[in-house]
């Protein structure tokens, strides 16, 4: 029998009204009733991606009206399953329903194995992304950052900035090198929003760097942030930038004119 098991429970986070995430089935069993207003995230450190596809199909059979949003990657490229539904439910019931339906079987042995793998992962990855970074990346994977609407990652970023600014700066600087431009653009947008009134020098530097990124989505996100800060301080960055994409070039030209009038 193929045994499916979740990872050893490294992540358990709750964002009121947005997300409740678990990785450890034992927490389902032990946690009793939990109100899950937005979604359920389930991840595994050692399991193949195919497993998650199987679970996605199984969840759909047991809970036909549950929407499977997507699979996501945590910082260590762990495949995860995201299930969303706007209602409250007993996580314990879901767990047992899965087991009963023979769609999901978690054994102590597999859990121990996952736990060992996780310890290994931590030992091998001393530069593991900080907790706030994991949460921000997860939230961005769950829900795109959309113009006109506040994103739940903004709150995490704002809290992290208040408590561990140095770590945040280091992380955002490093995220500019990430291979996923969608993630980079989203983080830059969130950064711009949470520093809209203060726009500190380090943020101006990072966004200035993002403006020179090879991907147009990142450059666009950076340009929008610079516009939103409404400060002539950023005029130099915009003026020296050479944009090749016509619509972005036009937009940046517009911002330069706007900011010059302040």
């Amino acid at each position: 029998m193929v045994t499916y098991a979740s990872a050893g429970g490294s992540t358990c986070f709750k964002e009121p009204n947005h997300l409740v995430g678990f990785q450890d089935p034992n927490r389902f069993v032990n946690s009793g009733k939990l109100v899950c207003q937005y979604g359920l995230a389930w991840g595994a450190g050692t399991s193949p991606r195919r497993m998650w596809e199987d679970i996605a199909m199984s969840v759909k059979k047991v809970f036909p009206d549950v929407e499977i949003l997507s699979t996501i990657n945590y910082e260590s490229k762990i495949p995860s399953l995201i299930v969303t539904k706007n209602l409250s439910f007993y996580l314990r019931d879901i767990y047992h329903s899965w087991r009963k339906a023979c769609f999901f079987s978690a054994t102590n042995e597999a859990d121990e194995e996952s736990s060992r793998s996780e310890k290994h992962l931590n030992k091998e990855s001393p530069n593991k992304a900080p907790r706030f970074a994991q949460e921000i990346c997860s939230l961005i994977s769950l829900q795109p950052v959309e113009n006109g609407f506040t994103h739940p990652a903004e709150k995490i970023l704002m809290e992290a900035l208040a408590n561990q600014e140095e770590d945040v700066i280091r992380w955002i600087e490093s995220i500019l090198e990430d291979k996923n431009p969608y993630l980079v653009a989203s983080v830059i947008s969130c950064l711009g929003r949470v520093t809209e009134k203060s726009h500190p020098a380090w943020a101006i530097n990072i966004v200035g760097e993002a403006l020179e990124h090879s991907n147009v989505a990142v450059r666009d996100a950076a340009a929008q942030v610079l516009e939103s800060w409404e400060t002539p301080q950023v005029l130099g960055l915009l003026s020296k930038h050479k944009e090749k994409v016509p619509w972005l070039q036009e937009y940046i030209g517009k911002i330069v004119i706007q900011l010059s009038s302040y």
Binding site: P144, E146, N147, G148, F149, T150, Y182, A185, R193, V216, A217, D220, A221, Q224, E227, S228, V245, P246, W247, L248, E250, Y251, K254, I255, Q258
Partner: protein, 169 residues
């Protein structure tokens, strides 16, 4: 109404590099053309001069001020795709614009792809997309408040604060 207008994010409509020239990013379809109940929400307008009203309807329904990107196609081009928009009340605090909202119902994979291709063609021709900058959006909302088309209290907090300070300047 002559056009249907959809809020998009322009950056998602550039073709992906290293693929064929006319490719459409998956994000353009799965995020910018996200459907609910197989229906796509769009706004109608009589002419390109009325695009400002669409931007106003969209921006005033949000909770923070950002640029608004829109694209549009002629309603007359839709029947050939088997698409028929239906009037439904729009989610906007601007009461005189609520009736300009449309839903494109019963979208299946073929129809949403056809629609995406139509939008992509228009956007890439360079003439059927418009970006309203943040100051432009702020001005549209401020003017609507001044003209009593919109109550400050109907705006979400962040936007309300921004418009309030604009009114005092």
């Amino acid at each position: 109404m002559k056009f249907i207008v959809r809020k998009i994010s322009l950056r998602k409509w550039d073709p992906l590099p290293d693929l064929e020239d006319d490719n459409i990013q998956a994000d353009a379809i799965t995020i910018d053309l996200k459907t609910h109940g197989n229906a796509l929400s769009v706004w109608g307008c009589e002419s390109e001069e009325n695009l400002e009203d669409v931007a106003l309807a969209l921006a005033s329904a949000g909770d923070c001020l950002n640029v608004v990107d829109v694209t549009w196609v002629e309603i007359s081009s839709l029947p050939a795709l088997g698409i028929q928009p239906q009037k439904t009340p729009g989610d906007t605090p601007v009461s005189d614009l609520k009736d300009y909202h449309l839903n494109i119902m019963n979208l299946d994979m073929r129809r949403i792809t056809d629609l995406a291709q139509l939008f992509a063609q228009r956007i890439r021709q360079g003439k059927k997309h418009r970006r309203f900058s943040r100051p432009e959006v702020k001005k549209l909302i401020t003017n609507a408040v001044k003209a009593n088309r919109l109550l400050l209290d109907d705006l979400k907090e962040k936007i309300r604060d921004a418009i309030q300070s604009e009114l005092h300047n």
